[in-house]
Subunit: 72 residues, 2 copies
DNA sequence: ACACCATGTCAAAAATATTATACATTAATA
DNA sequence: TATTAATGTATAATATTTTTGACATGGTGT
C-alpha cells in the first residue's frame, strides 16, 4: 500500500540498543536484504506482516513495541 | 512472503463475536476486497502490516491478539 | 592519502499481495 | 421452487514489496 505515513517504527533506536546492531546484521537475522531494512526503517512502504514479526523476534520485543499504527 | 504457515489469526472467530460480521463487511471496514479477507483468513499469504493493523482496528483489538507468529 | 564500513539511494527485475470478474456451493427463506 | 446472502475458489491483471547490483557519502583508522 505504498508509502505508509500512518505506521511508524522504532527499528533504528532498537538497533542501537542492541550493541549497535548494523542494518546488515539485522537483515541477516531477519532473512531480508539490507535495502529492505533501510526502506522499512525510513517508512518507504509497509512491510509484510511476516517480515514485521521477524524483526520483532530479532529484537525480542512484541511487534507492537516495534511498530505503531495511528489511524487518520 | 508467499504462503505463511507460521502466522495464524483469529479473524473468523472475531467476526462471529462481532454480531456475525461478514467477510464483506470486514473488507469494507478495512478497505480491501472480500477475496483479500478470505485469503488472509485462510492463511494463503501474509498481509501487509498496514492491512493487518486495520483489521485489528476493525475489531478494536491489539494486532497481536488477531495475529500470532510462531517461529519454527 | 588510502582503505574500510555503515549508510542512503536508485533503477530494473523478481516475487508476492491485492483487485476484478466470474462461477459453484450451501443455507436460509419466501 | 426460486431467490438471496455468504462463502470458497480460480484466473488474469495490477499494485506493492523485495531483491539484486551499483554507486555516492561521511566517518574511522592506518
Amino acid at each position: 500500500m505504498g508509502k505508509s505515513p500512518n505506521i511508524s517504527n522504532q527499528i533504528r533506536s532498537l538497533r542501537f540498543h542492541h550493541e549497535e546492531m548494523t542494518q546488515q546484521q539485522l537483515a541477516d537475522l531477519v532473512g531480508v536484504t539490507r535495502q529492505t531494512i533501510n526502506a522499512i526503517e525510513h517508512n518507504k512502504y509497509s512491510p509484510s506482516l511476516e517480515v514485521a514479526f521477524k524483526i520483532a523476534v530479532a529484537f525480542n520485543k512484541p511487534l507492537t513495541e516495534v511498530f505503531q499504527y495511528e489511524a487518520h
